[in-house]
């Protein structure tokens, strides 16, 4: 949980509005259907801020990332970098704007070319952009806690955590404002995870970087995020400051998600109350009417089949723990 939430900025680094990404899918008997992998997502990341993105496996997180980076075409909606809509730009200019965002991949083993030295791996984006100097590479190595001498070695001579540092150094080469990290620490042991998280936080403080941080491990997300967004079947179902969402989850899916996180204490494991979600995941190409979560929601009522709940701020109440306006959720129950 981060308490040092940055002051409201002028322009968000990344703004996504009503983004839709559809894929063609096969239906029964060769019929054709569409799969809505991203189904109307809006989100933003402010300078110096970490937005944690969590959610169901297959809910569209990686598709969202690929679309932000231009590897998928959105069916509808906009992606804006620094307030500029990417769709309206010429190709060269769009590439320039996209370079303000860089990606750190999950797998520190397969994402680094084993034939290149670490120095060359980090140099690659600099060379492509005509900015290479050996000193620049050495500075990047130092920035992520590696030494100049280590640049001469190949990835196979590095531990998993060191390789992930290399991946971060490469991502930092072109001085991006935003790093997109899709499961950056899930392949690492918890002590190396902690090292990498600490490094990311140091870099953020030093360089004012923003992060879009995707992970299934909720304790990792809680540690590094200022705000979180919870995704289910292509939609954001809850978002807010990290402490608010973790301590006072509003949406039934978020509650189930948080309750399912295993705790590293065998004595407590037996007594833990897990909200078990019944039923299967809905078919993404054949979403239920109304709220997509209703087939598995323990609180669902008939009304949930009729209306698609919108992501809204809370209704003011007299509750002991009032929900703050920035803490929004998409559930009819919360807003009734």
């Amino acid at each position: 949980m981060r308490t040092d939430t940055p002051a409201p900025p002028f322009l968000d680094v990344l703004t996504i509005q009503d983004l839709m990404v559809e894929f063609p899918a096969r239906g029964p008997l060769f019929s054709r259907r569409t799969l809505k992998a991203v189904n109307g997502v809006s989100l933003h990341v402010a300078p110096g801020e970490t937005l944690g993105l969590v959610g169901e496996s297959g809910c569209g997180k990686s598709t969202l990332v690929r679309t932000i980076l231009g590897m998928n075409k959105p069916t509808a909606g906009t992606v804006a970098v620094g307030g500029r809509n990417l769709a309206g730009l010429l190709n060269g200019r769009r590439r320039q704007e996209r370079a303000r965002m860089q990606m750190v991949f999950q797998d520190p083993y397969s994402s680094l070319d084993p034939r290149m030295t670490v120095h060359e791996i980090i140099a690659e984006p600099l060379r492509i952009n005509g900015q290479y100097t050996a000193a620049a590479v050495n500075r990047l190595l130092e920035q992520v806690g590696l030494t100049e001498a280590m640049g001469g070695r190949r990835p196979s001579e590095f531990s998993g955590g060191q390789r992930q540092r290399v991946g971060i150094a490469r991502a930092l080469a072109l001085k991006p404002e935003l790093l997109i990290l899709d499961e950056p620490v899930s392949a690492l042991d918890v002590s190396v995870q902690a090292q990498v998280i600490n490094l990311l936080q140091d870099l953020q403080a030093e360089l004012g970087l923003s992060y879009l941080f995707i992970a299934h491990d909720l304790s990792v997300v809680r540690q590094i995020s200022h705000r979180v967004a919870v995704m289910y079947m292509g939609r954001i179902v809850e978002t807010g400051p990290v402490a608010d969402v973790f301590n006072n989850p509003q949406h039934p899916y978020t509650r189930a998600l948080l309750s399912a996180a295993p705790v590293a204490d065998p004595a407590a494991a037996a007594s833990r109350q897990r909200i078990v979600l019944r039923g299967d995941l809905p078919d993404a190409a054949n979403l239920p009417s109304g709220c997509s979560f209703r087939t598995r929601c323990p609180m669902a009522t008939e009304a949930c089949a009729a209306v698609v709940p919108q992501l809204l701020p809370p209704v003011p109440t007299q509750a002991d723990f009032p929900v703050r306006p920035a803490h929004q959720s998409a559930c009819l129950l919360v807003h009734s």
């Binding site: 029964p28 297959g58 899930s186 540690q223 996180a261 295993p262 204490d265």
Partner: protein, 364 residues
């Protein structure tokens, strides 16, 4: 299969795995020893790159090219797998010994429909099934792991599946023949925690039905706490500690284990700087002569014994207090329980000394 065999289901003894390096062979796995018993969930945890995956790949006889078993024994139901002819190993693999991999994409053929790949796995050890029976079995296996619309999904290609869905397909494939030992290398790392919980339930249920034991490799110590009966902790190619799950979490004996547990993030660490063991592990070719953990160890700095002699995995007495506190989780009690030989062992000259301070966040 012998009905009179009473030893452990699997016994890995002093396993050494090497790769050819520029300056001679490099020991990637350096004398690993552990037993896995019938019905138990045995967790293998520890440092990234410590040799967990290679150890289980050696059990499956699936080591990558250039990497080989240099010495040691792998006894499965008393038979040494390392000495088994390839044909017999093929009969065992996928049937009595099955594995779920860390990266489902690397185990699936991208050019073949998922259903067809499962059908091949089914037919490999059940050649009598006709097309319809095979397809039915594939669909029921997929349904059992919670894949929606199994028919439709079976007809699509791996890239059309999300990471989580692919892993379910792998689990379905592994459980196709009710294996005696299921090896799961980070089976739920790609899954969200609600699906993870479901998959762990599915695995537990399938294991109960088939009577399988499981080796569970994971970095998620929460998962270990919830699912494992016993745990082995690896560091730099060796097992540095084995213990029952309650003992391991309440009183780790090895300083690396203590450091690992202290690094677990949680509600308490949020907003603070996370604890991390300082430094990095040695490269396999540059392991120091004494204890491989010495350069990073809060107990071993400045102690000659730690730099001079390699500590061996040694049985530790079970402290009476922790034996009482270590109630077995319901339904998972072991006939040999905490009293099992090898149930609590550590490879440290000063095992148990002040490791708890680390856990409590006190300066060491």
């Amino acid at each position: 299969m012998s009905t009179t065999y009473t030893g452990p289901l699997l016994s890995v003894q002093d396993l050494t795995i090497e790769v050819r390096g520029d300056d001679g062979p490099v020991r990637l796995v350096d004398g690993v020893t552990f037993d896995v018993h019938q019905d138990e969930v045995f967790a293998l945890v520890g440092e990234s790159g410590s040799g967990k995956s290679l150890t289980v790949l050696a059990i499956m006889d699936l080591l990558p090219p250039g990497v080989r078993i240099a010495s040691g024994r792998i006894l499965f139901r008393g038979r040494d797998l390392a000495q088994l002819p390839e044909a017999e190993m093929r009969r065992l693999r996928g049937k009595d010994l099955a594995m779920v991999f860390q990266d489902p994409m690397s185990a699936l053929n991208p050019l073949q429909r998922v259903g067809r790949q499962l059908a091949e796995a089914v037919k490999l050890h059940a050649s009598g099934l006709n097309r319809k029976q095979t397809a039915d079995k594939v669909h029921s296996l997929l349904a059992a792991v919670g894949v929606p619309d199994p028919q439709g999904r079976a007809a699509s290609y791996p890239h059309q599946w999300s990471g989580g869905m692919r892993q379910r397909a792998m689990i379905a494939m592994a459980m196709a023949h009710d294996p005696g030992l299921l090896i799961a290398d980070e089976p739920t790392t790609a899954l969200d925690v609600t699906v993870q919980a479901q998959v762990m339930d599915v695995l537990a249920e399938a294991r109960r039905r088939a009577g399988s034991a499981m080796i569970l490799i994971t970095h998620d110590l929460g998962l270990v706490a919830e699912a494992a009966d016993r745990v082995a902790v690896m560091y730099s190619g060796r097992v540095v500690e084995t213990a029952g799950v309650h003992q391991l979490f309440s009183s780790p004996a090895h300083p690396y284990t203590a450091g690992l547990l202290a690094s677990v993030l949680g509600e308490g660490t949020a907003g603070e700087r996370a604890f991390a063991i300082p430094g990095s592990p040695p490269a396999a070719a540059e392991r120091p002569a004494g204890c491989a953990f010495q350069p990073r160890c809060h107990l071993g700095s400045g102690r000659d014994k730690c730099t001079a002699a390699r500590p061996l995995l040694t049985l530790l007495p079970t402290p009476p207090s922790s034996a009482e506190g270590a109630a077995q989780p319901q339904g998972m009690a072991h006939p040999d329980g905490a009293a099992h030989p090898g149930g609590r062992a550590a490879a440290c000259h000063f095992a148990g000394e002040s490791t708890l301070q680390l856990l409590k966040g006190q300066p060491v």
